[in-house]
């Protein structure tokens, strides 16, 4: 007997009974936190029939693999404004989306550590900008930082900044909260449904061909995360963008001991303790080449453990439960690309460069405003695709 190999994903997909609609007023490509947020916000505006396509399951890509941080401590005005808006949305999300569970938003703050003089100078500038915009951030001495995080080693720390309203949430819950709220408003969620081709006629969107049939539509929103470049190619659009692997691990849980997300840009790590008690931590690798690989490496395990036990020594007493990797969708200036494109009806919500999760609420709101032809509630003119041709990049100095 010949055994036909069948992946789990295919098995679930073939069991799915949902039928693709023949037409939709908007098709959102990508069932991560960005796509579900956009679909929800469009539905809330009464945009019409909205279909969301996800080639695997919800939050299966970058969203479900992310470090889940939500911070307002940015180095550019625009990122600050976007994240202030998002934090407000996270604060009231359980109620607004009438979510039956909890998105587990823990506002334990973000503690950013400066280890180099250059970094310390940048932090001082950032704090002035952030305070001007109303973000409750303060500069701390190493000893003051240790009062907030008693397990912190202050070795090498020049100064720190702390914002108590930053924090982290559960990316799966946030995605499901948006998806279920969207569904109640009539959004068609199609998981295990892959966009294969985007149909156009004289530079205008006319439909999307998927593995389950074709949907006629005049509006497509590209929220495919690290695969946004592939989706943009379907309308012949080149976006300056590349995927980059980032690795991450989780430990066994212990009683709450770490309030804030602890982070360093020069040492490229971040570490948080979830409400459940597990520590989640990740590290960027400057040697990482662009690519779609999401395999884990043993080198990461060694490097991460070595680094974090210097910064938070007691964490060395914890066992690692598992490690994994996900993709950042990197742009040259570490800012997202939001808005329309030369192809009429084709919108971009991608290039979040490792902070898409925290920007998801505001992105959904802004994209829904743009698609509905309204003036966006935050001026994001500088985040359009055209900025790369115009050479008007807004470089974000504070990324891991």
């Amino acid at each position: 007997m010949k055994v036909i190999p069948m992946t789990w994903a295919k098995a679930v997909s073939s069991c799915s009974l949902d039928n693709l609609p023949k037409t939709a007023d908007a098709v959102v490509i990508g069932g991560g936190v960005i796509g579900t947020s956009i679909a929800y916000h469009l539905a809330k505006k009464g945009f019409g029939r909205i279909a969301l396509l996800e080639r695997s399951y919800l939050a299966s890509g970058s969203t479900g693999r992310c470090g889940a941080g939500v911070r307002q401590q940015w180095g550019t005005r625009l990122n600050c404004l976007l994240s202030i808006d998002s934090v407000r949305a996270f604060e009231r999300m359980d109620d607004e989306l009438n979510y039956s569970r909890s998105i587990e938003f823990k506002q334990g703050g973000y503690l950013l550590l400066a280890y180099t003089r250059r970094e310390a100078d940048q932090f001082k500038k950032n704090v002035l900008l952030q305070q001007e915009l109303g973000i409750p951030v303060s500069l701390l001495t190493p000893l003051e930082a240790r009062e907030i995080v008693p397990i912190l080693s202050t070795d090498g720390v020049l100064l720190a900044t702390f914002c108590p309203t930053d924090g982290h949430a559960n990316p799966f819950h946030v995605t499901y909260a948006y998806a279920s709220a969207g569904k109640r408003l009539g959004v068609d969620l199609h998981t295990f449904t892959e966009a294969h081709e985007i149909l156009t006629e004289s530079g205008k969107i006319t439909g999307v061909k998927t593995n389950k049939g074709t949907i006629s539509t005049n509006t497509v929103i590209n929220a495919a995360g690290p695969y946004s470049g592939v989706v943009a190619q379907m309308v012949g659009l080149d976006i300056p963008f590349y995927p980059e692997r980032h690795q991450i691990l989780v430990t066994e849980p212990v009683d709450p001991v770490l309030g804030p997300m602890v982070m360093s840009f020069s040492r490229r790590f971040y570490c948080q303790q979830t409400p459940h008690g597990s520590f989640i931590m990740g590290m960027g690798d400057p040697k990482e080449k662009p690519g779609f690989s999401i395999s884990g490496t043993w080198e990461f395990l060694v490097e991460m453990a070595t680094e974090i036990t210097k910064v938070l020594p007691p964490v060395g007493n914890l066992s690692v439960v598992r490690q994994w990797a996900g993709l950042y969708d990197m742009t040259p200036d570490a800012h997202p690309i939001l808005g329309p494109t030369p192809c009429e009806g084709f919108y971009l919500a991608c290039g979040f460069s490792g902070h898409g999760f925290m920007l998801a609420p505001v992105t959904g709101k802004l994209i829904s405003e743009i698609v509905c032809d309204e003036e966006p509630s935050i001026d994001i003119h500088g985040l359009d695709l055209g900025r790369f041709e115009r050479g008007e990049l807004v470089i974000e100095p504070s990324v891991v």
Partner: protein, 137 residues
Amino acid sequence: MQYILTSAFASNANSGAYGINSAMEGMGLVMDDGRIKHHPILEFKEGRKVRFTFDGKELEGYEGEPIACALHAAGVRVLKESPELKRPRGFFCAIGNCSSCLMTVDGRPNVRVCVERLREGMNVITQKGKGVLLADK
């Protein structure tokens, strides 16, 4: 299959010492004096006698045997409480896999005592909750 069934029985700490010992014997783990002889994955010789403390009480065991073996020989059957319902948990998988024997040893939380070797003077504490990370090592 035999192994899984007897293990499941052994995990029920409320079944009393007799039941557990019978189950352990079924697995070929117990000598006549109640001391575990064969471990599923670790080999250990009966080393010198050492003293250690368990919840403040002084106990004796053999150096190099898994801590759980020394506790079992001393009649300790409840090793942990379940995280949500706080039910007693006892010796179960014996290979460091099941989280049924997590204890705090020398200030380190969540030590798998079924595979952690006993040393002189160890301080073994029954863990309440998920365990505590101490600021000063």
